[in-house]
């Protein structure tokens, strides 16, 4: 079952800095990594979700000594990883429905708890993750997720947020940012793209449940993602990790820009990267090189209507104001940005 990973490149990000000192190396640098999401799956070139899932699940596998079970919501990750009769998953994995991954995770955790009690153990050595995209998490799966949170069930939920329903052809979700063009918020009319003043911030909602651990991460900082997964697996109870995963197809971006866009989302303040425990923010990743939102938005065709002639400078200003609010709210810069 277990096979060593063969590396064809060395010293790159993709193999996790394996030329670094052993203690600094990523999970991905090890030829003994679980390779939970194996090669050969059908994700698009440059898929942020495939990258995020591979790092997150491998890190969870290392943290648990490969004693891990995954529940997966319907969506891109499920479809591209398990076209019958193939599967890319190297761990026990179940897909039930679009809206129930968190509840399926709860059920698995309950079964494992009973098995542990029967074996005379305090906690099950086998742990549970549940995972889904932003639609399966913030919209259709939200009820089950909130229930899992409030009962403090022993499940780590991983949301791979690419900000729309990509699997069905890029429709708006409640994680779609304002002004973004999707197939159901077209770039037409006086107010093109998604509405301002809508959408929900799931990390903050998760925090409101006062669960032991909530964190955000992006695929631009894979070591940070790994560290947060490992920290999450060191805790029992409900945990939530919200990972920004750019989608080249849905965002209208070049597949080689996935990492860059994820980094720009953080460096503009559009996507705050932080950790919270029991409802309180405990750490934030400071912006190292603050840039205006335009640098993040311009490479994405979903925001093309904001630029050019006549463009929508008023919408651009609103997006900048939202990013500046994030910076103030989460103290992402040591000095608050000047008001526009």
């Amino acid at each position: 079952m277990h096979q060593s990973v063969k590396f064809y490149q060395t010293g790159t990000f993709t193999v996790g800095n394996r030329l670094l000192a052993p203690e600094q190396r990523s999970v991905q640098a090890s030829t003994e990594r679980s390779n939970s999401l194996n090669s050969g799956h059908r994700a698009c070139q440059g898929c942020g979700e495939a990258l995020g899932a591979r790092y997150a699940v491998d890190a969870a596998m290392r943290a648990t000594g490969n004693q891990l079970i995954a529940a997966n919501a319907t969506g891109c990750l499920e479809v591209f990883s398990t076209p019958y009769p193939e599967t890319s998953w190297q761990l026990p994995w179940i897909h039930s429905l679009f809206g129930n991954a968190a509840a399926v995770g709860t059920g698995i955790a309950a079964a494992l708890k009973v098995k542990a009690i029967k074996a005379g153990q305090e906690h099950s050595p086998v742990r549970v993750i549940a995972q889904g995209g932003d639609g399966g998490t913030t919209d259709i799966g939200f009820g089950c997720l909130s229930g899992m949170f409030e009962r403090n069930d022993d499940v780590l939920y991983l949301c791979y947020d690419n900000e729309a329903y990509m699997n069905t052809g890029v429709q708006r979700s409640s994680a779609t940012p304002p002004a973004a063009r999707t197939a159901t918020t077209m770039a037409v009319g006086a107010h093109p793209g998604a509405e301002f003043g809508q959408g929900k911030n799931l990390p903050l909602i998760a925090m409101a449940h006062e669960i032991p651990y909530v964190a955000t991460a992006t695929v631009a900082d894979l070591r940070d993602l790994e560290a947060k997964v490992e920290k999450a697996m060191s805790i029992h109870g409900a945990r939530y990790l919200h990972i920004l995963v750019p989608c080249p197809l849905g965002w209208g971006a070049a597949s080689h820009d996935t990492i860059r866009l994820a980094r720009l989302a953080r460096e503009t303040g559009i996507f705050p990267v932080f950790e919270a425990e029991h409802g309180e923010v405990t750490a934030v990743t400071k912006i190292r090189h603050h840039v205006p939102v335009e640098e993040y938005l311009r490479p994405q065709k979903r925001f093309a209507h904001l630029f050019g002639t006549p463009g929508h400078p008023e919408m651009l200003a609103k997006i900048q104001a939202d990013a500046d609010r994030n910076i103030r709210r989460f103290k992402l810069l040591d000095e608050a940005p000047q008001e526009a």
């Binding site: 179940i94 429905l97 079964a111 708890k113 089950c144």
Partner: protein
Amino acid sequence: MLKQIEGSQAVAQTVALSRPEVICAYPISPQTHIVEGLGELVKSGALAPCEFINVESEFAAMSVAIGSSAAGARTYTATASQGLLFMAEAVYNASGLGLPIVMTVANRAIGAPINIWNDHSDSMSQRDCGWIQLFAAHNQEAADLHIQAFKLAEELSMPVMVCMDGFILTHAVERVDIPAQTEVDAFLPPYEPRQVLDVNEPVSIGAMVGPEAFMEVRYLAHAKQLMALERIPQIAAEFAERFGRTTGGLVRGYRCQDADTIVVALGSVIGTLKDTVDELRDDGLRIGVLGIHSFRPFPLAAVRAALEHAKRVVVLEKSFSVGLGGVVSTDVRLALSGLGLQGYPVVAGLGGRAITKASLARMLREAVADQLQPLTFLDLDWRIVNRQLEREAATRRSGPIAENLLRDVGTVASKVS
């Protein structure tokens, strides 16, 4: 042990004797007393090790059950009515995945208009979901069927619904023989899953299946139901041998041998029918009752064998396919294909309308005289129906139907006769 006990408590105690490992539930009348009973048993430690999870919806209840069953735990839940509909997507998923969950359905009407009382609309709405559906005629059978259901479900790796009439059975206090733990343990072996989420032997459960194999996967679900047709009577016989009473099985007849007229029914109304038939027999009518105890799989051959010597069949059902008529009747007709029997679907008891012996006797006398309509609604109040139809013909904004009818009836009390 013989106990004078509420139906829900009898079910709770027998489910407990089946050693469930995970129980999840969301409250809905009239299922509540069952899960309250189990919740107390878990909380007190009497059922340890067993997890009881209070979920946020029926959709979550079935989803938690899917997770725990796939992880190898014997899993139980209960619901009714709107709750069954709310979990419908997960109900289909559980059977599609072949997970042996056992669920009680405390049969109740579906709104609108909202109605908490008994009929069979809820489980009939899930007729084609792939679950085995067993129907209890009385509380002893409701209790016994749960033990049989776990055995059947786990042998076949298919989920089983045990349907019992809401309130009429769930809230009725009757004499029920609750077996001893050792007896149940000897009958029901520990759960050995066919598929399980196991870190030592990783599998992917729930992969996408395209046109190349989807039909085959679906056929195999049907093949399991056909196996259930054989196993259900065998399990009922094993149960009878060990526990000394006959409950479950596919169908059970009452005074059918020489009957010209046979009434087919499911659930608690079978008891009322037996009493009615006894009285009609005293008057010289050759009439019998056929109780269907397994609705899915539907026992076509057993129904045909039981009915083929009769002259006419009345299907008395607490379900209604709007725009067609009977639900069970359609299946019974299929069982009687090619036979020249007269068939009379009778829809009765919707939303808790009491089915009295007087009404049954009147209807059955008409049936014996071949005077029944092609579709009968037992005790339908044509006066208020026609009044509403007239109102709708007379004015465009005729208003909400339910409120109009209640105003016409002039009472909010349940109609009994």
